[in-house]
């Protein structure tokens, strides 16, 4: 399977400041992500294919005219924007059946604890203080992996058994693809499978530990 060439993560970055868009774009590119930048929350929703009803802005529907070709793995948005704030955008995404599984990250130059907890409570995965650093972006991978995991669940099962027995699988994608998707994973399962760097392991564990519900696995047929 062509792991390397298979889809890079695609991030949608939202910021009203051109300067900040340039910065976040470069940061994301340097982190090997494909980037699309937009300058407002409403443009972000348009890009996703959500049409905002002019009469009632609380009603979102999927636009019949936009065939959503682009798979977005993460939305990163500034908090302070005129019109629709990053928080408003977060809410709209999480309220949409089609897109609520897309992880959202909020950025802000202001360290306001109440603001941070509100965003996290509303479903933001991370809250980055600006200026955002390259190191911050390493936190994004686990969140973006989750969306790939979910997408894979919609595909028919492949030859999963043979994949598992391959030693030293470096690519996290390979590991995740072979595991049944909507099951939460016990960390020890992952530890045995992820043979590579401690960074990746930490990322995996972070995924597990931040999950709010952790049902025990029961149907996993894979074995190591």
């Amino acid at each position: 399977m062509g792991m390397e060439t298979e889809s890079q993560f695609h991030v949608l970055a939202v910021d009203d400041s051109l300067f900040d868009r340039k910065m976040i774009e470069r940061l994301l590119q340097k982190s090997s992500c494909q980037v699309t930048t937009v300058d407002s929350g409403s443009k972000a929703l348009e890009f996703l294919g959500l049409r905002v009803d002019d009469e009632d802005p609380n009603v979102l529907s999927t636009s019949p005219h936009i065939h959503q070709e682009v798979e977005i793995n993460l939305i990163i948005t500034d908090y302070c924007m005129p019109g629709m704030t990053g928080y408003d955008l977060l809410k709209k995404v999480k309220e949409s059946a089609a897109f609520k599984s897309i992880p959202v990250v909020i950025m802000s130059s202001e360290n306001v604890p109440a603001r941070i907890s509100r965003c996290l409570e509303e479903g933001a995965e991370e809250f980055f203080l600006k200026p955002v650093k390259l190191a911050d972006l390493t936190k994004l991978k686990p969140h973006m992996m989750k969306t790939k995991l979910k997408k894979e669940s919609e595909k028919p099962a492949k030859e999963e058994e043979s994949e598992i027995s391959k030693p030293g699988i470096e690519e996290e994608e390979a590991v995740i693809e072979i595991l049944p998707l909507h099951q939460e994973l016990e960390s020890e399962q992952l530890e045995t499978m992820v043979s590579s760097s401690s960074n990746k392991r930490k990322a995996m564990e972070e995924v597990i530990s931040t999950d709010r519900s952790r049902p025990k696995y029961n149907d996993i047929t894979t074995s190591v």
Binding site: S17, F19, K22, R26, L27, Q29, K30, K130, P131
Partner: protein, 154 residues
């Protein structure tokens, strides 16, 4: 000056900017984002920063010059300038903006005027220094040399 001398000058000059607190480590972050695929990234964002800041400072002068100062207009400008100077690593400009914002909150017009002067001073200083830095880099590149990586051993 020969190439090696020019490169040494550039390194010393860059170091001095850090030592004087004109630039902070965020500037190094910017340099990390520059590579063969984006060889002019730093000068591009810095240029954007200059353009934004020139405009903001102008707007601030106008807003503060009004008979009745509308702090609802002043504060967002200072906020933006604080943000971009912070992203560039222009530490002293950023710090001056922090002070400025405090006085905005207090709606202290007198103090805000002084703050604006302070911000302008720091801004022209960093602008001047960065322009010199870029000139030094250009000279090196024009002579066929490479820009040495900044080594901050202090």
């Amino acid at each position: 000056m020969d190439l090696v001398q020019m490169q040494k000058s550039l390194q010393d000059y860059t170091k001095s900017l850090f030592l004087e607190g004109i630039l902070d480590s965020q500037f190094l972050q910017l340099q990390q984002l520059q590579d063969e695929s984006n060889p002019d990234f730093v000068s591009q964002v810095v240029t954007l920063f200059f353009q934004d800041s020139d405009r903001i400072l102008n707007d601030l002068s106008l807003s503060l010059g009004q008979q009745v100062v509308d702090f609802k207009k002043v504060d967002p400008h200072v906020h933006q300038l604080k943000g971009s100077s912070s992203s560039i690593g222009a530490q002293r400009v950023k710090n001056a903006c922090v002070v400025f914002r405090n006085f905005c909150e207090q709606q202290n017009v007198e103090a805000c005027h002084r703050c604006l002067q302070q911000v302008k001073q720091e801004y022209y200083l960093v602008k001047n220094r960065l322009e010199t830095l870029f000139k030094l880099e250009q000279q090196i590149v024009a002579s066929g040399g490479m820009i040495p990586a900044v080594e901050l051993g202090f």
